[in-house]
């Protein structure tokens, strides 16, 4: 008794048959190229729609979503610089305290 129901045997057989070529396919360069193209198309469509929306908002003198994202990115970069600086200052303080202690 294996404990497996009878319907599992054909499923497992089919799975063993299909899985290796399917896995080889997704790891192939051709698949990577197709995936990159799909991402590219999706991105291009998204950018096109965003650009259109931005034009409409700018016509009525209002900021578009893309403007806000740009501002978020700039604030994010600033936030990152501040975080890194504060960590580096902490490290310098720790090193100084350590050398003073010795």
């Amino acid at each position: 008794m294996t404990g497996l129901p009878s319907w599992r045997t054909p499923y497992d057989f089919a799975e063993r048959l299909v899985a290796p070529p399917a896995e080889a396919l997704v790891r192939s360069d051709r698949f990577a190229a197709v995936a990159a193209t799909v991402f590219g198309i999706r991105r291009a469509v998204g950018d096109g729609l965003n650009g259109l929306a931005a034009t409409v908002w700018h016509l009525v003198n209002l900021p578009a979503g893309s403007d806000l994202h740009r501002m978020h990115a700039q604030l994010g970069a600033l936030d990152r610089d501040v975080r890194r600086l504060s960590l580096q200052l902490e490290q310098r303080d720790t090193a100084r305290t350590g050398s003073d202690g010795r």
Binding site: R8, A32, A77, R80
Partner: protein, 360 residues
């Protein structure tokens, strides 16, 4: 005669199947209604340091018997509760029970403020700060460090870049070293710079659904097989709980900072970790500069970080006290589940204990 012998067996089988059908229906309704969500990450812990989205957790223990403390560095792609999945199925819990003072560095959920993050942020700033915090809190001179998945790469770069790092030992589990062996995500990243930009969301990060799809597609038949397995064992409460916890985690990715994605693309193109071509902040980093006692753990059925990706590491590290542990298991299976509890985790604990002191 044969019929008489088999008759009770058939009745038993029918009875068992009927009972299982009822249990399947009950568990199926519970799952569909979202009633029985298992609790994850339940080992008691405290946040002992926080910076941005990053947190350093210390797991509570009244019975710390081992020094130095152990700092776990998690990866950037998923959530760290996989290391503390459920009571009785938790890597962290097993370490705490073995007497370790366990800390975990969790990167949180990156947002647009982290989009420009690069490997240097983690390797040069966050990890050293966390190590200092662990030393301050524990009073220990050194720490043991353990990296899991991409956390292994961060730990390796930290140890290689800081030759004076206060490390007693370094353990890495499922470390992706040969990035060209990883499959669709790095294949897409590694094509051209513009391909990375196509993957980024408006917040400047690679969105979690892209990371999720990249991992899902590695095993194309898994999506069907896991439902088949679930239907088969839906009557088993323990299986359903473990299934929900695991599947919940497997689909619970976090955004990957865009800056790191760009670096990964470059590292994949040059296969930088294998070919000794890693450059951080303008400096060349050599894995051969790692000289602390070293253990690398890899699973032979790991489909996310295949053996071919993790295997080159042992020859690249400069430590004289270095070991490789190859185990039967998948990416998660090396640290989660029954095999991990019986084989991998005790082996890691033994490696660490041999290089540790017992606190009396």
């Amino acid at each position: 005669m044969t019929i008489d012998v088999e008759a009770p067996g058939i009745v038993d089988l029918v009875g068992r199947e009927l009972e299982r059908c009822v249990l399947r229906a009950r568990n199926g309704i519970r799952m569909a209604a979202g009633i029985s969500r298992p609790e994850v990450g339940t080992t008691p812990k405290d946040v002992v340091w926080r910076h941005g989205r990053t947190e350093l957790w210390r797991y509570r223990s009244d019975d710390v018997r081992v020094s130095p403390p152990l700092l776990i560095v998690f990866g950037l792609f998923s959530r760290s509760y996989i290391l503390d999945l459920q009571k009785g199925n938790s890597f962290v819990e097993q370490l705490v029970d073995a007497g370790f003072d366990v800390y975990l560095l969790d990167w949180g959920v990156p947002d647009e403020r982290d989009a420009a993050n690069r490997l240097e942020d983690y390797v040069d700033d966050y990890i050293p700060a966390a190590v200092e915090q662990v030393r301050r809190i524990s009073g220990a001179e050194q720490v043991d460090m353990l990296g899991y998945c991409f956390g292994s790469v961060l730990s390796l770069l930290y140890a290689a870049r800081r030759r004076d790092a206060p490390l007693c030992s370094l353990t890495v589990v499922s470390a992706p070293i040969d990035l060209q062996q990883l499959g669709p995500l790095t294949s897409v990243l590694g094509n051209t710079e513009s391909d990375v930009e196509k993957l980024l969301d408006v917040d400047g990060n690679v969105p979690p659904h892209v990371v999720h799809q990249a991992f899902q597609i590695l095993k194309p038949t898994m999506r069907v097989t896991r439902y088949v397995d679930l239907f088969d064992k839906l009557w088993n409460d323990d299986y359903v709980t473990a299934y929900q916890a695991m599947i919940g985690w497997a689909g619970d990715h976090v955004p990957l900072p865009g800056g790191v994605a760009r670096q990964l693309a470059e590292m994949t193109r040059t296969n930088a970790l294998v070919d000794d071509a890693i450059v951080l902040d303008g400096d060349r980093v050599h894995l051969s500069d790692i000289t602390v006692p070293f253990l690398t753990v890899l699973g032979d059925r790991d489909h996310i970080v295949p053996e071919a990706s993790a295997a080159p590491l042992i020859d690249l590290v400069g430590s004289s006290d270095k070991h490789e542990l190859r185990l039967e298991g998948g990416h998660v299976g090396v640290l989660v589940g029954r095999t991990a509890a019986k084989k991998t985790i005790p082996a890691i604990i033994e490696f660490l204990l041999r290089r540790s002191e017992t606190i009396t």
